[in-house]
Amino acid sequence: MDFTPDEMMTIAAARALSNDDVCFVGIGAPSAACNVARLTHAPGITLIYESGTLGTAPEVLPLSIGDGELCETALTTVSVPEMFRYWLQGGRISVGFLGAAQLDRFGNINTTVIGPYTHPKVRLPGGGGAPEIASSCGEIFITMRQSVRGMVETIDFVTSFGHGTGGEARRKLGLTTKGPTLLVTDLAVWRPDPDSKEFTVRSLHPGVSRAMVQDSCGWRVRFAGDLEETPPPSHLELQTLRDLYARTKAAHRAQGAA
């Protein structure tokens, strides 16, 4: 079965989630990866959206983090202050899933501005839940498509702190959580180096070369010594993802009025 780089990215991200995880699905994050995990190897995973829905199991992917579908399939729905206080800050979340407009090699994320803050070239949506998802979740998974504009040497604004300047930066800030432990792009799976905390390519997706990864990344890429190939999507994984997208498309088309 053939597959696209986006499909590989979503499936590789889904694999990193386990049955016991309590996963906070932030704005812009791959809802698809979390739900593929739930529909394949991790049926017991708890998915939480910042709109207050605890333990959702949507049939179709939500368009926003507050769709009715999330509430209808949730175990319970709490207020947004409670979500951020008891559930996120309370240390109840094992994995936070974030996307990024701009990312650096240490997993620091910018979703605020391209250009200077007071006179931005592009005003992005801002932090939303991400700054505290980044600090309060047990660990952080990031997914994004590679591009030299998105993966940069220095991000324009640190919206959400990753490993700062690397090394012990988190610990020095008083953070006890792990921070970014995984980056899945459309080309590769990256993990931070245990000491420097710099993202290092651990596996290339099938058909991807080192040069392809470097050409679409704005910093000089480190590759692991024991570089592997990401296992290709299984039939079940791919079918589950495609069925999910098909259901989603049909539902949203039916829902859009006239």
């Binding site: 509430c71 953070l175 006239a258």
Partner: protein, 285 residues
Amino acid sequence: MTCIMSLGDAVAELIADGNAVAFEGFTHLIPMAAAHETIRQGRRDLTLIRMTPDIIYDQMIGMGMARKLVFSFAGNPGVGLLRRLRDTVENGWPNRPEIEEHSHAAMANAYEAGAAGLPCAIFRGYLGSDLRKVNPSIRTVTCPFTGEILAAVPAIRPDVAVIHAQKASRRGDVLVEGIVGVQKEAVLAAKRVLVTVEEVVDDFDDLHPNLCVLPHWTISAVCPVPGGAHPSYAHGHYRRDNAAYLEWDKVSADRDSFLGWMKANVLDVGPEAFAERVRPLRTKG
């Protein structure tokens, strides 16, 4: 004490030029009809407070009503960026409002502190984030027991909170169901409160005891406006109008098309237009 009144009268009475106004609703029950009435009545110099200033504030910003924006995530949900907000920040059109930018955790805590009558909220937040550098309202407090340095933000105390809810009772009690967001906190933090509702029922005697109910004595005005959350949704009443969110991306891309749309769909119509807009989306009633 609550009065059940028309939306026009309520906006005229409760929202004044220069007010700090929180139109809240977290992806659900967004009080769009009340925003449109506020636009029609031409309010100016507003401080617009909202965690997620999606379409509702894009329209008000584009109409030049904002003196200041307080927010934590400004996007068109499921679609992309907000083009009127970008135009005001990047190009100063039609004006250049002051910006106070937070994270969700900060704003949720700040509303909570407002509802709780506190001057500030403390929380574990903004660690390592540049938001501290650009927002002087983000300060710190040291825990007197552990020495931990916590983030502190001022409580949000709007002049007016505006929400949309599913039901009011005749007496003016209000029920919010489903994704309840920060609506209770926004209401209790505000000096005055305007609530649009899908329907008015006799009483709430048959409700489960632990639902999100706001007593009539916390509300200034209740205005029945069926469909008043369009194009967002009202759990138990109608679905989200996804096409409208996609359409907004095109409408708002250009200043002229934006102004034309606002004239045809806001300035030249009244709150009764909303019932018609949600008719094909209804799941009940």
